[in-house]
Every structure is written in C-alpha cells, then in structure tokens.
Symmetry: C2
Subunit: 453 residues, 2 copies
C-alpha cells in the first residue's frame, strides 16, 4: 500500500489520505451495492496526471476506478478492492465554444448544464438532458451513454459526441473522432467509449455537438385513470408520427410522492399523468396530441398556462427520484421496451409489486419506452431488501420477454452484469470480452463493471 | 482453386464461374484502383449461406470481400487476390416495418430508397440519403457509414442504425444492438460495424430507425461570383443558428457539366451556386437565409417556384458525378473540414487544380463542411493520371491542415489507407489494429481495406 502511495507521490501526484473522504468516494448513487476497499484516491487536474496514474497502475497491475460526480445509478463508479479511485471532477473547464462549427470542447468534469449555459449566448445548447444534468458531469454522461428527457425528439448522449481524448490502460494518450460535422476515417472508437463505463479508458476531453436552442415549447398534462389508457395514448401519439419534445409518464406512486415533497396540485388520484411538450408548431402539435389522449381515454387534459407552469411541471418530474427517496431506500431500475409494449410493461411491473409486496413507483420516458421502476425497500429489513431485489430481477426478465433491454440509459455497472449475459448472445458476449482484452489486457480498468470478472 | 470450389459446392453453395461476371464484380465505383484477382464469386441468399462461406474461408485462410451494389467510391468492395467475392445483393427483402416503434428490419441488399418507399404509407421515411440512394444498398450504406444530402439537418447513416445481425470471420452469427429506442447494454458493437467496410464482419440484417416525413420544404438557389462569398454565406447561415434541411454547393465546373448533361438554365457563369432548403417554418427560414446570402455578397437569390422546380434542382445536384464522368475519368475525393474553413478549402482546391494543371470540380455538402473535389483525368495519359493523383493527395493534405478529415463520408477503402495513418495518432492506429485482430485474427475479412496489410 505504501509502495503505491510513494509511487503516486513520486510522480508529483497527491493521494488523498483521509479515510472518510475515500469512503465517500467509494460509492455512487446505486443503492445496496457493497463497495470494495479502495487503496487510494487521486483528484486529477490534467490529462498528464491521469496518464501518470495509469502508468503507476499498469506497472503494478492495480485497478483504477474513474469517477465523475458519482451520480450514476448502476454502480459503475463504486470502489473495487485495492483500486485507485480516479476523480476527474477537478478537470472542469470548458476549453472552447465554437458557434459556427457548433461544437464545445470540454474537460470531463464539466457539469452537463454548464455547457448549455455557456453555449446559450450563441443561441445554442448541448441537447442531452439526464435528470441529473445540473450535477452530473459530461465525462460521466459519456462513459454511461446517458439518456435524458428530450431524447424522444433529440436523441441520446452518444449522438452528440464527436471526438474524445482518452488515456488508455497503458497510460498512453489517444485522440479519436473529429471536430468536423462528418467524418468516417477508421473504426468508430468514439462510440466504443460511449457507454464503456471506464472499462476501456479514461475520458479526459470531449468534443460535443451543439445545436440551436429549439423554439419555445408548450406543454400539456393528461390525466389517466388506468396505466393501460396512458400506454395506449403513448402508442397513439407515436403511431401518428408526432414528434413531442418530451413525453413522460408519472405514475400514481410518484404523483403522491411529488405532491408530498412540494404541493403543486398534482392529481394524486390519477393512475398516471402524461407530460407532453412540443416545440415545432406547438399549438397545432398539442391540439393533435390532446385529441389522441382523449381518444385513448384520458380523464382530463390541460395545458400549462404559461412557461413558468410548464417549467414547474418538468422540474417536478426531475425531482421524482428525490421524492421517492423520502419513502425509503430506492432501487432504481431502468429498462426499455418497444414503445408499443409500454402498457404491458406497466402491467407487469404492477404485478411484480403485488407479488413481492413492495412499493414500486414508475416514472418513464414513455415516448422512448424507457421505464424507471423505483422500488422502495427498508434497507435495514432483510426481507424487504430481498423482496425488492426479487422484484428488480423480475422486471428485467419482463423487459427481455417484451423484446426490450435490461438498461435503457443507466448502464450495466455492477448491478446488471449477469443480466447483460442474458440479454446478448454468447457470440456477442465473447466479442465484448475480446474488445475489453484489446484495450485493457491486464484488466485494471474498472474491473468487474459491465463484464463479470 | 478447385479445392475451394468443391468446398463451397459441398456446402450447397453455387460459385459463379463466368470470368466476365467475376471481373465485373471485382471493382466498385472507385476509379484507377487495380483490383486483385478473385478466386470465386458467391451470391448469398441467406445468413446461413454467408456463414457457410465464412466457415469455408476461415478453414482455408481465404480472404472474403463482402459486396453490395458496389457503388462505393473508396475501393472497399474491390477484389483482393485469391478472395471469395461475397455478393449480398440477392438478400434484398424488407423483413418488417413497425410504425409505432419506428423501425424497419432489412436484409443488406435492400436499396436505400426502397426503405423510405415502404415506410411512406405510415408517414415515415429512412432519412439518410446518399446521392446513390436509388442504387446503393443499406448493407453498403452501413458498412461505409454513408453520408448524404440531408445530413446537415438529419444526420448520417450511423445515427439511424439500431441493431445488426453480423456473420463474424469465424462463421459465427452475432446479433448486436436493439429494437428499442434507447439501450446501453454493453459495448456499442453496432457503431463499431458502421463504417468498418466489411473488415470486421458481414452485415446480414439491419434494424434501422424510421422518422416522420418532414413537412414540405421550400428551396432557394443563391448565385455567387466568387467561391469565397459562397463560403461566407455558409458560415453566416450556420452561425445564425439556421437549420437548413440541405445546404449544397455546386461550383462552376459542375454547373457547366450539369447544364451540358441536361439544360435547365443553371447559371453557368457563376463561381458557385448554393442550394438551400428548409422544412420547419420554411418561408420564414428561407427569408432569413436569403438575407444572409445577400449579406455575404450573393449576386442573385431566387426561390424555386414550386416543388417540381425544387426537385429538379436537387435531382440535378444528384447527377453531379454522372455529369463529370462525361468529361473523363473522375477521381472522386471526399474531405470534411470545419465548416468555418470551407472558403479556405475551396481556395486550396483551386490552387491545387492550377498547380497540377487538372480540372477539379467541387460539389460540397457545404453545411457539413464536406467537399467532393472531382478530379478529371485522362486514364490513358500517364501524366494526366499522375497530376490527378498529386492533386488528390494535396487536397487530403489541405484538409488535414485545416483541422479536417481525409474522408467525410466515402470511407478509407484502398484509396486512403496511408492517409488514415497520417490523420490519426499512432496510439489510435494501434487500437484500430487490435480491434481488427480481435474480430478477424486470420485477417481474412476484406484484407488491406481501411488498414494497410
């Protein structure tokens, strides 16, 4: 241990020694994940420092766990036994904003929302918007291939990453991708790193695509007495060729939790609320969506009276997990199904809740068929935890059965390694292992994440 | 040789024996590329047949060259000595169109335009539109990560591929990706295959994203006396946050060639014509773009009077290469630069044309900074060919110097292997070679394409 410390110190790095700080850095936002015991914590301030850490680690075959804001929900940033925790959050500069070429070049520790804030003076934004956007980092967003709320119209993180600087397991610094709008020179390494959860390299710089700030949106809320009717409305909206800029579902459990957190008159008797916005020709678009919601059996549909009310509704949606965490420890699940099967997924989750006797609230990026069943357990009660875990697994099984995936946007991390093996075929899994070996022959980069050791 | 034939025949395959047919299949649309001598040609009718070919090839370490419509412009489908040419074009069925989930599942030999035609009854389309869209296949589009004309607003092929079935070098069949709108389970193998030009596996099925057919567009044409002014107009349009649905530049050489091909009143005295369309709020958008073109020094700006005239202008643009090929043998170059440097690129290409005494016409997806300098040579005149090749290389050098890439959308193929090595850093190149080795340890898949042997 002390040899590792001196090796790190010899390269000019300053390992953090405070045990409490290391303990705090040993977990991310995934609950009921038992972290390993880290050996050290380094707060990296430059690409060269990251490379120095990797060289020290490679020489000693010591694991390295890259970390951003640790807001991830799948355990990909949790400590591994004997690892160096490599905190990238001090690398938090926006290096450039280029409005003509519509790109931003950022260090990994920049918060998602800061990019849009910096681009706004040029009428541009960085579109992907995970609910954590104010506190999560762009490096973490890319490493987990994060989704968000606007994806239904504007796509996910991976679609906005043009180029990366990455430090490989060897300590070598690599650039991949480009700064041009188009480019196809060689294999697409950029997208291989998107969603690789720190297992193939450490992202030290990102060139991301900016896009024009969309016109003002209008928002409506549709109240449903059954989740099946809400599911039918989503299917009808997407089948009609509509392009809502957000299409979120909030179930009864969440409506009540949100209203408890901050009373704003949410319909706490409803089975589900759909929140829908449009920004192209919003009056016309929402009129059509309103009609389709009515046809699907909405009990009530109302428009947000102004931007402030619309923003309040969306902000309320972003607080969903926070609201649920007041009820207990929350196991956050994340599955995606073909959107045509949303209603079946909702029914199956309800059945799992009843079968296992646990509270499950569902929040969904409904337009994408991406559901977050939030399972509430009492972390001090073994039976409750066991029931929650059983429901968690049953929901993953359900998603696969519906032609879906075990993770829509949160990643595999430590939570779903076995489930990845069930989702993909053995030939695919073997290919993934060969890629891992090609980039990290010693297996020092975030070992045990995505792929079981 | 006959052992290979009997091995292929023994698995139930029917190798084509006609030497003329094999010769015709030994080249793609790249000019002045000397193909190798193929050993056999198989027209595959199913995934199982593709797997059978790969197993035979793997046992004998015989190279395999996957082919679609061979409309590629970088030589990635040209024959390799001793290779089995594997023609996927008979696998030409659209397997399903799913309007709610907005996906199409296609065999690789389906022509690009056929997907949109099949989706149209649901108000959907397959957006990416290379100029070859009526004759190129979806398998080839994916294998080359093809671009197109609508990319400036709607993005490139890779952004529309959700899932693939691929036959690996071993003959194993692998599925990767998903059918859901979102999904992040494991490494992104789908995008690794996009643009891999048949060097990592053979695509036998693709699940692609459909999107709503955009509203009717309006089109304008702006005439410029200098290419510098046209470049300024592009910069101004993109800096203003406009979102044209196409933004194409046609230079004087092309204007004259197109007018010769089919007279339609193109301004043959102009240095450049910009063709711009908008489809969101087109009247308002084009008014702004018209103003910006005027400010950049357009000599004249006119709107297409109706959809027929707009379509004729666009169709004319799609005929650009065909028109140039009437002048001689055309070396099609393909570079992308930051769009802010478009004018510099145009100046540099003009200088290369003068220095080497060769005719170079430039057609550009200007909004993306993606230029196609079409270099006209006399294939029977060694000096002309040498001058053309020198200009070709000088343009690649120019693009790299401007912060660009040696291929915006056509790929590396055999034409630009050495240039790929100049574009990416040695660490990146080594990573690409490790990926190739991880998927194709024997080096039988399209050897010598992308990466020099």
């Amino acid at each position: 241990m002390s040899e590792l410390f001196s090796a790190l110190s010899d390269t000019g790095l300053t390992p953090v020694t405070d045990a409490d700080v290391i303990a705090a850095h040993s977990v991310d936002h995934a609950r009921l994940v038992e972290p390993g015991r880290a050996a050290a914590l380094i707060r990296a301030r430059s690409t060269e420092e990251v490379a120095a850490v990797l060289r020290v680690a490679a020489e000693r075959a010591v694991p390295v766990v890259p970390q951003g804001a640790r807001t991830g929900l799948a355990g990909s940033a949790t400590a591994v036994d004997g690892a160096i925790l490599l905190d990238l959050s001090p690398m938090d500069s926006i290096l450039s904003i280029d409005p003509v070429n519509r790109i931003a070049v950022c260090q990994p520790g920049v918060h998602n929302a800061e990019i849009s804030a910096a681009a706004a003076e040029h009428g541009l934004r960085y579109a992907p918007d995970p609910s954590s956007w104010r506190i999560s980092t762009i490096g973490g967003n890319i490493a987990t291939a994060a989704g968000g709320i606007c994806c239904v119209k504007y796509g996910v993180t991976a679609e906005y990453v043009l180029g990366l600087e990455v430090v490989l397991a060897s300590g070598e610094i690599m650039r991949c991708g480009r700064r041009t709008a188009k480019g196809v020179a060689g294999y697409d390494l950029v997208h291989l790193f998107c969603g690789s959860e720190g297992t193939l390299g450490v992202i030290t710089e990102a060139t991301v695509k900016l896009s024009p700030i969309p016109p003002d949106r209008l928002t409506l809320a549709a109240v449903f007495d059954t989740t099946a009717a809400a599911g039918r409305a989503v299917t009808a909206i997407m089948a009609a060729g509509a392009q809502p800029s957000l299409l979120e579902l909030i179930d009864n459990v969440h409506l009540r939790a949100l209203e408890d957190l901050r009373p704003m008159g949410l319909p706490t008797d409803a089975a589900a609320l759909l929140l829908v916005a449009a920004d192209a020709d919003p009056n016309l678009e929402l009129a059509e969506i309103e009609r389709l919601c009515g046809g699907a059996g909405a009990a009530e549909v109302f428009r947000a009276t102004d931007a402030a009310e619309a923003d309040a509704l969306l902000e309320s949606r972003r607080q969903a997990l926070h609201a649920m965490e007041r009820l207990g420890t929350v196991l956050v699940d994340d599955v995606a199904v073909p959107r045509s099967r949303l209603a079946e997924a909702l029914d199956g989750i309800q059945a799992a809740s009843e079968r296992h006797g646990v509270v499950i609230g569902v929040i969904a990026h409904a337009g994408d068929g991406n559901l977050h069943p939030n399972i509430v357990v009492d972390a001090d009660d073994g039976d409750s935890v066991a029931a929650g875990r059983a429901a968690f697994d049953e929901i993953l099984e359900l998603a696969l059965g519906l032609g879906g995936t075990v993770t829509g946007e949160h990643g595999v991390g430590t939570l779903k390694r076995e489930w990845l093996e069930r989702e993909v075929d053995p030939v695919n899994l073997a290919a993934q292992r060969r890629i891992k070996a090609a980039f990290d022959p010693l297996g020092i980069l975030n070992p045990g994440k995505i792929l079981a050791g």
